[in-house]
Symmetry: D2
Subunit: 416 residues, 4 copies
């Protein structure tokens, strides 16, 4: 048993930390203010953010999330990523997660990460050349259109949108929402998921299709706030697809193959989300400690009042437990693959957002009104944690998976 990170992960972490601390941290508040002031329909990437992206690209802090270097024409080796194991990337993702924009600065932000993985693993050379290469270079952005407003997305077989194949075209119809990134000014491609063959077996009915953002029939009806936040520059869109037609070669993998692709996409994606939330929770605890040691009430620093120390201790215990659980899940993903890590990934998907929500709520409370306003990153951080109790499968669905796996052995016995 050995809890030390690998040497290369450690080295990258140190470089990443230095980069973010020196270059990003000083300018992040100004960038966030600029982003928060943007109205829907007028999202733009602040120039300072573009400069940081450029610097991250030059520093080789780029595409860190890719499990192996991307071997794609048009993507120079320096941008192909270091090819880290999940357990290695995990500690980098934690550092990225402390910031609301660092992931995008390093081309490691959802949903682009998942979309790039899908294209790398399942895309044709043509798809890779047209969409993946510019995504890997950070020149364009993408969105993922799966969730629908009218059916429970916790049960993906409910999906109502259709991707009918008519000759050499696919025709897309339906209403999607929480299409993250669709408001980004650089967004040029959407991955759409819809019903192709209702007569196929339950997990072989749906297809994933690449859709140019400007294809006729694609309408971003509006951008949805989360709590009150619009999350510029990407946003979360409600998107209509009205008879959108794309060539059949825009299907990813094979028609009917969407579920398998979605599963492959979601496992590592959930680990990334969770590691970033660990970083966010650490940031919240750090802010809580700073506040507790500097703010005075009733003649004492807050740290010496009531149960504040216990709450700080509880936060430390919750974070450390959650981090170990994520690292273990990442290690399982690396050593046992997706199937072997199924329960572990569902576990972190429940544990981490709930933990982060609680730790951040505690930090908000210590900050008083400042914690709820935009004077700290806490309100946004809380919203991110809360949203992840729903996104990529609500708590309840993941608890169901965990219980099913736990009970499986006993049921077999009971039945025997």
């Amino acid at each position: 048993m050995d809890f030390r990170p690998t040497a290369r992960a450690q080295e990258l972490l140190e470089r990443l930390d230095a980069f973010l601390t020196e270059r990003l941290d000083p300018v992040e508040p100004a960038i966030l203010r600029e982003l928060d002031a943007q109205a829907p329909g007028a999202f733009a990437v602040p120039p300072a953010m573009r400069e940081l992206q450029s610097a991250a690209r030059d520093a080789g802090l780029w595409n860190l999330f890719l499990p192996e270097p991307a071997d794609v024409p048009g993507v120079p080796e320096t941008l192909a990523g270091p090819g880290l194991a999940n357990a290695e990337y995990a500690i980098l993702a934690e550092r990225l997660g402390r910031s609301a924009i660092a992931s995008e600065v390093c081309n490691c932000n959802a949903p682009d990460t998942g979309n790039m993985e899908v294209l790398l693993q399942f895309g044709t050379p043509e798809q890779q050349e047209r969409w993946l290469a510019p995504l890997l270079r950070g020149e364009i952005r993408s969105a993922f259109c799966m969730t629908e407003p009218d059916v429970a997305s916790s049960d993906a077989t409910n999906m109502q949108a259709t991707a009918r194949i008519e000759g050499d075209e696919v025709v897309l119809d339906g209403e999607k929402w929480w299409s993250t990134g669709v408001g980004h000014p650089d967004c040029e491609v959407l991955i759409f998921m819809g019903l192709t063959d209702p007569d196929a077996h339950r997990y072989g009915q749906h297809s994933m299709v690449l859709v140019p953002r400007d294809a006729p029939g694609v309408t971003v009806e509006r951008l949805l706030p989360t709590m009150g936040f619009l999350d510029a520059p990407g946003g979360h869109g409600r998107v209509r697809f009205d008879g959108v037609r794309v060539p059949v070669d825009h299907v990813i993998g094979t028609p009917g193959g969407a579920f398998g692709i979605a599963q492959a996409r979601l496992g590592p994606g959930r680990v990334h989300h969770c590691m970033r939330l660990i970083g966010l929770a650490e940031l919240a605890l750090e802010l809580a400690c700073r506040r507790a040691t500097t703010r005075v009430a009733f003649g004492k620093p807050l740290a010496n009042l009531g149960g504040n120390r216990e709450r700080i201790a509880d936060a430390r215990m919750k974070i450390d437990q959650a981090r170990l659980l994520v690292l273990h899940a990442a290690w399982l993903l690396d050593t046992e693959g997706l199937a072997g890590a199924l329960g572990a990934v569902s576990q972190i998907k429940v544990v981490v957002p709930n933990m982060a929500q609680e730790v951040i709520d505690m930090a908000i409370q210590l900050h008083g009104g400042a914690g709820l306003s935009d004077e700290t990153p806490l309100a946004g951080a809380w919203t991110m944690a809360r949203a992840l109790r729903l996104a990529d499968g609500p708590d309840e669905v993941h608890r169901g998976v965990i219980a099913r796996l736990e009970l499986a052995a006993y049921k077999a016995q009971a039945a025997a």
Copy 2:
């Protein structure tokens, strides 16, 4: 022991409920959308809201919060309020609390309610004529400027703003924030609290002063978001007072008398907040039940999946307990006065916002993404509950009061 409401409270509740159900409920979503779209600096009261106010005034559903009818020149008897006991008003406030705007429609919204009570109880005839009468008529709005960004407002003796008396003027300096209502287009008067005499005893140093909104030296620097919400049309301002001069007759009560006034103001105000939150929690539970019985996943309504029924049962138990605690506190306030209800009011101030936060969070979870967006009132409701864990005294301060009262008897024994 008798848990029934009085006949007049019951009768008013029925009228209020009919009015809000018929007149307000159908138009509230549109009004809220209009308010949410307003940018800081451009807040306006939607015409539909002014019409509702007018109708409420005509229907005698006006100033319901006043503990006795307001006997003030310029305020006709029909607007003077029915003069309800706290325990009577409580059930009306619960109904008002289901809506984000009903309180303002019925002239029962904070901070105007507290400001009106202060002026009624402590104002001079001149102050009452100039400020109270138009407030009671609903023609103007007001703000309350107490909390400061740089000191812990949980310990009000920290206050740094000053209200120095110079001859027949009071000179106000300082930085306030979370001045609720200051962004309202009708806001014409602020109540400012500041240090007058640092040599007086601890609770006799501060004064409350009436300040015209347009007095020279008053600057609303910006409106603060809560989570991402600006809360138009009132908002919460960060307000600078730079050498603001008002005549000494603008002091409420006597110089140095602010603490006593603040205490008198806060007791009933906390009961009002709590009763409104009970209504909000009931609304959230109602939405949760509707969702649970109509939304289907995995072939079943959500109500029949996993622990959802238990969560609904838990919400019902938490709400019912909290409501009884508030009614009991209101009854104590009515029968024992502020001093006798001290612990009870602190109890509800802790219990109710936490309860509401939990119930609303549960309802959000059942709604999935819709619960976090603006497609339900839940995100705003959660924010209201969360903010009330800090406003009017954070949980920690109220827990301290409750424990102090609880331990008092034992300490005396231990010391004896």
Copy 3:
């Protein structure tokens, strides 16, 4: 709305409190030690306890639980009970609940209370003369044999024991457990519940039958510990019924009528249990406060260390909420009857034992090892609270009832 107790309840409370404080409190620790040292099979009522019973009888603090005075031959008016409403008895039961033996001292202990109510309401004159009169006089004790080891008693229709009618006899077979009181040296009668007619409708299949403790075929196999405690002098027995024959006139009410009787029995019984637990929680909080103000660590009384004050405040809030909920349920039972109080009774059955368990656990923690040992009443108190999360319906069943009632309206709408 009026939260004051009635005058006669207040007067009885004062007399009861004086009696218990003066007579019982000083000797209770010695009595409990004597009881705890008793081995199964050798339970005896300590003489001091019999003296206290005698004194309570003389003082008219007897059968306080009866909703109306018992009009039964052989029971003098002085022992017939004051005939209190549930909301009146509730405050007396809270006082009784502070002590582990006060209820028995005042002839107000389960399961005799429920058994007496059943006999009063459903018994024939002969049954009343033979069993009820001596129970009301406190001369004998009884047990209630319903729960079975091999089937989920949360679903009473599972019951496997049988009460077959053969001619003018009823033949009882089956295995019961958690038959409280069956180890009492004065126990002379058991109420047995078993299946009579499997072809009747679901709630008309079972009968309740009076069984002399010494009837041939009745075997108390052993007394069950609850967390190590045997609960002398009554205990909880595992009881076999092997072809036990009693005359058919020993059936209570009509054959097949057991469910209706059980429901009538359980409503007030649950309110009694809950009120007693409120008293126990108050005792635990009192002990916690005494400890917190007298015990010193790190140079300070425990009350001034870490989150201890917050925990004391939380306990106060939980108790006060739970008490109001119980009083409200009792009042509903008095004003609306069993059906109208169904949800309210299920609510208190969940809320109160969980609350008491938490408050007592907190008090244990403040007492360190003493809290877990027999040097305080806390370990026994915790066990009582914990057991009541299972007895008379586990939390889960009551949550199910509450949710069903809550969702009923919405389902009707959803179905319409």
Copy 4:
């Protein structure tokens, strides 16, 4: 990063598991019944247990806890232990912890483990020969007398017992309790801690002294129940020391050196306790799953009712997180030593007993009355977990340590 156990730990685990599964599991219930029926003063080791000890000794499953093989005259190599790192022993301790007696069977039970470590590290050759060798061989048992009834043992500097040096004797006076193991029929030596030099610095005032169990002046006043359990055959004693005189060479280490020894003793001891509790929690979850899949109510297995699956999932997540935290703490102890693992050890000491208490409580609830009685090991398991929230430092003290370490950096900054 690598979460796999070492090969030798894995091999030992398999042998240990086979031994306990084949030899101990079938007879444990009978042994426990025999132990539970023992009265204080009449504790005896059941013959079946002695046979198991013998078998474990022969199988080399002995003294597994020792961090290096014991090189002590009179202790053959086969009994000297395999010399495992803490992270290696941890997985064995988890297996031992599933059983209430396996630790004693394998000579790995507290307080003997800690006492042996103390003697190995700090004992003189004479002390080792006389006490350590027979302890290592499992021929005698020992007790540890530190906690006192009259002072908060959370703050060890409070200790009132004295160990005065008079010439070549040490004179011991004082009242100890929770002296675990003192009731064991094989107990022959106590380690006593008392005040020697009140003028020395705060952590240099106390001494540890070896005391023959039968030394004149040693009185076991009584054995304390935990909840209702006496924990035969070791028990927890209240012990008086009245002018007990032993030669000064019975002091362990140097006079005044007790605190350092106690600290060295407690670190690994806490890890052992926590790993055993992980095993106990796993057992409880296993029992819960068996029950949930076999017990039927309302026509369904309990697993399919209400929130039961969610609770099972929650238990799985809590256990897995807690286990990783303990393994990490053990690894830190191995790689960084006691000082480097200080916070980690305090973390597990809070997290694990609370986790186990919750998981076991859930399992009890699923078992109904059986869970509270002696028909399952759950009531005893819960009591063990609950006691460990107090033993070896209460939760509150460990939370204080964690918070102090967390805040240290910020305070330095705040002070600078």
